[in-house]
């Protein structure tokens, strides 16, 4: 049996006190999420070259915890659509997005992914936001690696303001009920 005195002593143990941080669950989860965004590189055109440069030593996105490029959507947090999305590719991009687990974010990198860019054409989807929700648009044709890093930092800011638990619960609640098989 623990005496009241020992509880008192444990609660005010100076060693424990210096190792405890008081915060909200949302803030803690957002902090964890935003500093380890694992990108799924959706390299479709020349923007992908800049994406590769961003990941390499000179620009080094591992400074922001994003260096873990996952080529499986099931392990990724953020889909970086870098390049021209043709209609032939569009549903494949959508399928990869659907395979990513929540929470997930999407970055439209460059003019083509954002709006179709210079391709006002029968063959090109006029912006990936016509198929999947986009969190950050990055201008440029193609954007410099600095621009991609700036966009991903804006995404980090956005992740930081989300209601980590609340939003997830809401998505669970609004999920259509699957019929029992």
């Amino acid at each position: 049996m623990v005496s009241p005195t020992s509880i008192f002593e444990a609660a005010y143990d100076s060693k424990i006190e210096s190792n405890v941080i008081v915060t909200r669950v949302d803030a803690a989860m957002n902090w964890v999420r935003k500093n380890s965004l694992w990108p799924m590189p959706m390299g479709l055109a020349c923007c992908a070259i800049e994406l590769m440069a961003t990941a390499s030593a000179r620009f080094d996105i591992s400074r922001f915890g994003m260096e873990v490029m996952r080529f499986s959507p099931r392990q990724a947090d953020v889909l970086i659509v870098s390049g021209t999305v043709t209609y032939k590719m569009a549903l494949a991009v959508k399928r990869i997005w659907d395979q990513m687990p929540e929470p997930k974010w999407c970055v439209a990198m460059g003019a083509c992914a954002s709006s179709g860019g210079m391709y006002r054409s029968y063959a090109v989807l006029q912006g990936i936001d016509r198929l999947i929700p986009v969190d950050v648009y990055i201008s440029g044709c193609p954007p410099r690696p600095e621009a991609l890093i700036a966009g991903l930092m804006r995404l980090q800011e956005k992740v930081d303001t989300e209601h980590a638990l609340l939003d997830q619960k809401r998505s669970l609640l609004t999920k259509p009920a699957t019929p029992a098989v």
């Binding site: 029968y122 063959a123 016509r130």
Partner: protein, 189 residues
């Protein structure tokens, strides 16, 4: 033997007046009727040393008859000479396939079929190569709108109409300067 000699030799081998040849800045073009196309290509391949087929392209002369033109770019393997062979075909006419002469013709002919709808008789696998099977149009035809047409093939692909917004996406051929040829906007036109 240079390409000019090849053109002369080919033309001398026939009395057909429909055969034309053009030389422009050292490039030689031979225009032949479609029924003579395959024998001419075979001669180029087997006797004249044009071992390489660089490209096959199609041209849509909308309003002219016959409507389409098919262009073959040939080259010797050591690139010592080049020859362009063209033929005109109507909308309901097929061009004899050149796959039996050059394997390279396979995908080029599929591309011409895909985008312009020119058929190739005797092609082993004439299906679309860039667009998907089931796409209903031939998008590089002149009467196909630049913005595209809406289609939907569930679970395969869909297309929409691109917003041109009076933009400078269509150049005006023959305009005297680049400002008139490609203006920033055509909204005021």
């Amino acid at each position: 033997m240079a390409a000019a000699d090849d053109v002369n030799r080919l033309r001398e081998s026939t009395g057909d007046e429909r055969w034309e040849s053009v030389e422009f800045r050292g490039e030689h073009t031979l225009r032949v009727p479609v029924e003579a196309l395959h024998p001419v290509l075979a001669t180029c391949r087997n006797d004249l040393g044009y071992a390489m087929l660089l490209d096959i392209s199609g041209v849509d002369h909308l309003g002219d008859e016959p409507r389409f033109e098919v262009v073959y770019q040939l080259a010797a393997a050591d690139d010592s000479k080049r020859l362009r062979v063209t033929t005109r075909v109507g909308e309901d006419q097929a061009v004899p396939s050149a796959v039996d002469l050059w394997q390279a013709a396979d995908w080029h002919e599929r591309e011409v079929w895909d985008l312009l709808g020119i058929g190739f008789a005797g092609h082993p696998n004439l299906k679309r190569i860039l667009m998907w099977e089931g796409y209903p149009y031939f998008p590089l035809r002149k009467d196909f709108p630049l913005a595209g047409r809406p289609t939907d093939l569930p679970d395969v692909a869909f297309t929409g109409v691109a917003p041109l917004e009076g933009g400078p996406f269509v150049a005006t051929a023959g305009a005297p300067n680049t400002v008139l040829r490609e203006p920033r906007s055509r909204a005021g036109d």
